[in-house]
Amino acid sequence: MMRSFVFAFLIFSAVQAFGQEDDLFDLFDDVEEVQLTYATFKGTQLINSATNETPGEGVLQYVIAHRFGSFNDDYLYNFFGLDNAQIRMQLDYGMTDKLNVGIGRSSFLKVADGFIKYKLLQQQTGAKNVPVSLTLNSSINYRNARYTDGVEHYTSDRISYLHQAIIARKWNRKLSTLVSPSVVHFNLVPTAQDPNTTAHLTLGGRYKITNRMALTGEGTIMSNREFSSGERYTTPFALGVDIETGGHVFQLHISNTRAMNGPFWMARNPYSASNGGLFLGFNISRVFTVKE
């Protein structure tokens, strides 16, 4: 009795096992694939701040950025600020899909810079679930502009650094956000009482309105805004629109900053929107696939 019961059970379970395979196409569903999140942001920069993105391996990127004159500076006489634009040019290369290195030169304080960016973690779902992307970014900035304080300066006085972690998440196909804790270090500060190193936190996001167009925004808070020399720095923010056409990304924006190097727009921004310190600007990036 017991035996036949066991056999019946065995056969039944065998039949059941076939039953599960009954529809061949069910096999499609038990695949555990890793789905890497791509294109969290259109560009390697959101507006001023860096995004988690890097160009792919073997891709050379050229970025040209302009920040026009402010709304409170004889606006019509300066042709809507176009007459006194600040520019920055950047050339960077994707060494691997994760590692990106580049150089830049800005007319604002004649700053030359070099940066290195590394994608440490990439957001993914499926077999492995990683909720956010994490990219590290560091830059070294050298001020070429002459000092007007009449004091002789060391070369090291001209150097400043930015180190940041960019934590980004693509919530859905339209909305992506980033949070970037950063530290900025200036070798030279007004007096010994002032901190050389300040902490900053950038919050930013983009919302796609079409497949090729998105609205962007960012703001950065900081740990120290008052310096003993009397300078009081403001909170940098920007609003913009991204337009993508093939190999180009156009980013048009309005911000309260003119500098385009991390330490300067983040930690040394003197302009205030409340008294007209608003600037139109754009970034244009073009990529070239150098190595296929």
Binding site: R3, S4, F7, L10, I11, A14, A17, F18, E21, L24, F25, L27, F28, V31, E33, Q35, L36, Y38, A39, P55, G56, E57, V59, G94, D97, N172, R173, N211, R212, T245, G246, G247, V287, T289, E292
Partner: protein
């Protein structure tokens, strides 16, 4: 008697399952290139299933598994054309019958009946599926902007090459 029955059940089970073939490393190439632009991508992680008993054939591929030579092109493919986040997979479900694959092909959430030539080399252990056909991109609801219309072949060639093994 009981033993015989068990044996029968077992062999029946074995013979049944031996009819099914499968792979998760199928190769699928997509070519929508034109003389102006080289647009070719390959996925080497397509899933293909075949049942020799009833001729059922299925192929499925994850859109994000297509690898392009250019990273930006791959991004545009997923972001602007295939919309891979909304429609992550392309699926063919149908039958293999007398040198043809007949069934329903779903790309970009649009399902169309297809009947295309295919070749299936069957042995006890393996089944080698090869097929080459064209799909009209716009039929699957994928819009090609006029600015790039002359760079993209409206009839993309699909090359399927899957080596299935008996389950």
């Amino acid at each position: 008697m009981k033993k015989l029955f068990t044996l029968l059940a077992l062999t029946l089970g074995l013979s049944l399952s031996a009819q099914q073939y499968m792979t998760r490393q199928g190769s699928l190439t997509f070519d929508a290139g034109s003389p102006l632009e080289d647009i070719v991508a390959t996925s080497n992680s397509a899933t293909a299933v075949y049942d020799a008993q009833d001729g059922k054939l299925g192929v499925q591929v994850l859109m994000t598994s297509f690898e392009f030579k250019r990273a930006l092109m791959q991004e545009h493919f997923n972001e602007n054309y295939a919309e891979s986040e909304v429609y992550p997979k392309a699926v063919f479900k149908g039958k293999f019958e007398a040198g043809r694959a007949i069934g329903a092909l779903t790309i970009h959430g649009v399902t169309k009946d297809v009947d295309v030539p295919a070749k299936l080399d069957l042995s006890k252990e393996t089944a080698h599926l090869v097929a080459e056909f064209a799909v009209t991109i716009e039929e699957y609801g994928i819009a090609i902007p006029s600015a790039v219309a002359n760079k993209i072949d409206k009839h993309a060639k699909i090359l399927v090459d899957c080596k299935l093994v008996a389950k």
